[in-house]
Symmetry: C2
Subunit: 324 residues, 2 copies
């Protein structure tokens, strides 16, 4: 077993060696671009690490792991169009750098490339790998649709929000854990436990992402701070604020989210002021911690060495204490 | 072996029985919609028919055949966004009936559903089926990108155009033929020949489509007549007209394609007048016939019964003499 950084390096080397030299360049340039601007490579790291922990052959996990990363990046390209997001990981989004048509089509091509990487799994796990991949992929689409539905709706409950991020974020992360376990051919029990571990960790991870979007440091986070606030995203933070705000705070909050015309910086600052007054950051951290604790409960059930448990614990800890 | 119509009915029954009842409805409604408004179901018919001809089990071909139809419909949803097309098969396109975001996301979900249908192939052909599907899917994306490239370019050669429709149309059709042959587990030789048969037929099919777009009957064709002319699509018809037009005809043709402001009906009529003067319809028919003849050459090489050859001949004949 290795550190997060080691798996990350292995992956970055592999990904940098991938050649998408085929024509037409207009289609493959955006794919190279989004893979180059990187990100944490969380999902494929998780697959490699899990495969390793269950005694599997890392080489057999490499391409399916990259397939998951490609799938994730495909969703980013298309989500950014739908969300009209200008910046991703500190760089222009694909539809901003080129145009919407190229973003739609290169996203499509990337999904098919992801299929091809998944298909590099060995025969004896191929069907299980492909079924896991497709089921989780479809659930990610479900989650994105709920996300869009909630944006155009006045009220969303915190339960609905949690269900949405389970679909949009946690499912793919938990599937990446399960994928590593499937390739390592561990027991069904271990597969189920590691998936649940990943699922709760994924929820916690997304809550941390929401917190960073409001309170992070732009130079580290790579997205515009306050982007969710400006997009009227129904995050845990906002929903909690609506739950707790009273009197003038509630009126202000409602007015910022109802009026379409405003100076962006003013809106972000005003909403952050209300968040601070209502202790939203700490309350969100508490919610994140709740799911983190649930994931650790699962971790303790796994039939693996203490070393292996430690590796997973460190991963979990890094994910909820990160600044980017 | 059965008639085209019989396979079509089998497929329509299966497709109508598919339930996409899962939530969120916003995501699955457009998928049901595009599958319901139908079309010829050419691609899955081809797979069933080919499987049958090579003595395969139709039941084993059914879901992968539907997978190819789902893949094709996914490309229609996304292509229609990129082409800004308002009408498809006589009905509003998905992004027109709903909105662009729902068209992007339901197209994505449909591609993943297509993956799932392909995965219903038997274990002993699974990898071959999935590889064929992914390779052809990626080539279809390549073709769509070339199509967009050519629209924003002043001149395209007829050779470039043929290469583009090979990718965008012929590859998927030829893969549907090959898919039926793979599921029937016929010889490699037969697989290669039927694929070539389908490839040439696919080019002929697209040329006929271009002819119908300019000279068809709207009530049968289901798309706006002259849509390609209005979209400045570099079709075989237009490229041939540019090749042959001289003097005032050439000037007129250039001016219609350079000026952005015009009354649509006037542009369509004026271009059709030039097409008629230059005998473009007949010249395009001749090109289509050329590829049809190439496909028949392949047909004659197949080691199958005369009855089976006849069935394929009738299919080919129907495809290039259709009015919709």
């Amino acid at each position: 077993m290795y550190s997060f950084q080691h798996y990350q390096e292995l992956l970055t080397n592999e990904i940098n060696n991938l050649k998408f030299e085929r024509e037409p360049r207009e289609l493959y340039e955006p794919i190279e671009y989004i893979l180059t601007i990187g990100g944490k490579r969380l999902r494929p790291v998780v697959t490699l690490m899990t495969c390793d922990i269950f005694g599997g052959d890392l080489k057999k996990a490499m391409y399916p792991a990259i397939g998951m990363e490609m799938f994730h990046n495909f969703t980013l390209i298309h989500d950014d169009i739908m969300d009209r997001a200008p910046v991703r990981r500190g760089f222009a989004t694909v539809h901003t750098k080129w145009d919407e048509n190229r973003a739609i089509l290169s996203g499509d091509a990337m999904l098919i490339l992801a299929n091809q990487f998944m298909l590099k799994a060995d025969d004896d796990v191929l069907r299980e790998v492909m079924e896991l991949y497709n089921i989780s992929g479809l659930l990610v689409c479900d989650g994105q649709q709920y996300d869009m539905n909630y944006e155009s709706r006045n009220r969303t409950s915190i339960d609905e929000y949690i269900r949405m991020i389970e679909l949009k974020t946690a499912v793919l992360i938990s599937s990446c854990f399960r994928l590593g376990a499937v390739i390592a051919k561990t027991s069904s029990e271990n597969k189920d436990i590691i998936e649940k571990f990943g699922h709760n960790l994924g929820i916690s991870f997304q809550l941390e992402d929401d917190i960073l979007d409001a309170f992070g440091d732009y130079s580290k986070f790579g997205k515009s701070i306050g982007g969710d606030i400006l997009a009227n995203k129904k995050t845990y933070l906002l929903l909690k604020a609506f739950e707790l705000a009273r009197g003038k705070d509630l009126e202000d909050l409602e007015s910022w989210f109802e009026h379409k015309v405003h100076i962006p910086e003013h809106k972000v600052q005003a909403v952050l002021d209300i968040y601070n007054k209502l202790n939203i950051r700490e309350l969100s951290k508490k919610a994140s911690r709740h799911y983190f604790d649930l994931s650790i409960e699962q971790l303790n059930k796994l039939q693996i060495s203490d070393d292996a448990k430690n590796t997973l614990y460190e991963l979990a800890d890094y994910l909820i204490n990160r600044d980017s």
